[in-house]
């Protein structure tokens, strides 16, 4: 025979558990709907990679990129030091999270922690923008000659970047 109290409690517990599961599923689904900054940045670096790889040696191309102003694009040549480990011994172009003007370093370490890199066969990669070079010089820690690569900060709308591809080098640049 079923005891009155036990039946009542069991039903309540089952309903509560199902209710919580339902709530959890809803929250998980909503989280899935609203997350995605990283996915967007992956799409952006894939688009940059696709457009660079489409160029023939000696070609120049301009294309539009839309990012997020909390992220920037940078790159390293194969023999350069301080690259993110995920580039191994190759040249790479990365999209990394950080605000250079807020003191975040343009370093391989920060890209290793929060960034997406794409590897290129060309030995030399230069990524530069007038804006960042000026900011780096302003710190007084570097000379103009000392800097090969800097980075390109995204804006809240579109930026047009220029890519020059040679047999053994890629130069990605942005001018205000």
């Amino acid at each position: 025979m079923i005891k009155k109290g036990l039946l009542g409690h069991t039903t309540s517990i089952i309903i509560a558990v199902i209710g919580l599961l339902l709530l959890g599923a809803g929250i998980y689904k909503m989280y899935g709907i609203f997350k995605g900054e990283d996915e967007n940045m992956k799409k952006t670096i894939d688009s940059i990679e696709g457009k660079i790889k489409r160029l023939e040696d000696g070609d120049k191309g301009k294309f539009l990129v839309r990012g997020n102003n909390k992220w920037y694009v940078t790159g390293w040549s194969a023999e350069e030091k301080g690259k993110p480990d995920k580039c191994y011994l190759n040249s790479c172009i990365c999209i990394c999270k950080g605000n250079i003007f807020a003191g975040d370093a343009l370093s391989g370490e920060s890209c290793q922690k929060k960034g997406f890199c794409r590897i290129f066969e060309e030995k030399k990669v230069i990524v530069k923008s007038d804006l960042i070079l000026k900011a780096v010089y302003a710190t007084g820690e570097n000379s103009a000659e000392g800097i090969d690569s800097s980075g390109i900060i995204f804006k809240s709308n579109l930026i047009e970047i220029e890519v020059k591809k040679e047999k053994d080098s890629i130069e990605v640049s942005y001018r205000e």
Binding site: T11, I33, R54
Partner: protein, 338 residues
């Protein structure tokens, strides 16, 4: 008699209610879609989420609207000049030039309508709180690029010359509707394009600076949704009316607001259609290309918003050449997924 171990009527009612609640919850569970949402579903959900969210969290809810990339092609072409490295939707055009042109018209008009429809026909305040959360003024324009449509280089100029999107929008019905595109965009009030003060238009078009001429191959357009808030919608209208980039992109406000020539008053709000006028003046010659053909449509009036300071503004769906200068001048910031 209440025998020991038997259920009382109160307990039976409680258990019945419990079981009914359980069934209701299980039914609700089946309504939650655990599979993948399509991009359009995700976008609509996030638009609704943003629109109905409390002020305090509205700014932290991103719009999950991805820019759709459509390549209109014949055969093997994949619009790689425009879309290399990006996921695209290919639409194959007929070998017959006239049929191909009709399909280009259809896709372009449909994408414009979809953008308008997904964004709540411009009546929802989507960017107000988002803008302030990003340090922007609410009066700055914020955009979302709904789609980019490109015509593959393999499609001849002869096909493009046959494309007449104005005619298409005037004569053809919106899918699953009894209204034409123009009627839909103007809330059934108008079935025709407004007349244009051609002299005034040419005057404005001629004022385009040299650098304002269209860049690119004229074969790619971006369909943008732009929203801007102000204390008075008329302020936005007067500023937009002078926007040289809007003119360059093919739209021109003609006597808007004064006599409603281009705009249609619906209650206190204005629905309008902007149209490009094909003219032969040098800087504006490119307006006749595909990228300069499409009209814009918009809504100016009160938004559904809690922000009492700036509850009026304008929303526009505008086709523009996919060009950084042009788009950045129209959009202070861009939201959504690239």
């Amino acid at each position: 008699m209440d025998k020991k171990g038997e259920l009382t009527s109160t307990q039976i009612v409680s258990i019945t209610i419990g079981i009914l609640a359980l069934i209701t919850m299980l039914f609700a569970l089946t309504l939650i879609k655990f599979g993948e949402y399509t991009d359009e579903e995700l976008c609509k959900l996030s638009v609704l989420g943003r629109a109905h969210a409390a002020d305090s969290i509205q700014g932290s809810l991103p719009l999950k609207c991805s820019t759709k990339k459509i390549c209109l092609t014949r055969g093997k072409g994949d619009c790689s000049e425009n879309f290399a490295g990006e996921e695209i939707e290919k639409i194959k055009l007929s070998a017959d030039d006239t049929k191909a042109a009709r399909l280009i018209e259809e896709v372009s008009a449909r994408e414009m309508y979809n953008c308008w429809s997904m964004m709540g026909e411009g009546k929802i305040d989507l960017f107000g709180k988002y803008a302030t959360s990003r340090g922007l003024e609410v009066t700055d324009s914020t955009c979302l690029i709904c789609s980019r449509v490109a015509i593959d280089k393999g499609i001849s100029e002869d096909v493009i010359k046959k494309v007449d999107i104005h005619r298409y929008m005037k004569e053809e019905l919106v899918p699953q509707s009894k209204l034409t595109y123009i009627q839909t965009f103007t809330d059934k009030v108008s079935g025709a394009y407004p007349s244009v003060d051609r002299a005034a238009y040419e005057n404005e078009a001629n004022s385009l600076r040299e650098g304002d001429s269209l860049s690119g191959n004229g074969r790619e357009i971006a369909l943008l949704f732009m929203q801007i808030k102000a204390t008075k919608a008329s302020e936005v209208l007067s500023n937009l009316g002078k926007d040289v980039f809007l003119i360059a992109a093919g739209g021109y406000f003609v006597n808007l607001g004064a006599k409603g020539v281009a705009g249609v008053l619906v209650g206190k709000a204005i629905r309008f259609i902007l149209l490009p006028v094909a003219i032969g003046t040098a800087p504006a010659a490119a307006l006749n290309a595909y990228s300069g053909q499409i009209t814009a449509t918009g809504y100016c009036g009160e938004f559904s918003t809690n922000d009492e300071k700036a509850k009026e503004g304008c929303s526009i769906v505008q086709a523009m050449p996919y060009d950084a200068n042009r788009i950045n001048n129209f959009c202070k910031s861009i939201e959504g997924n690239p």
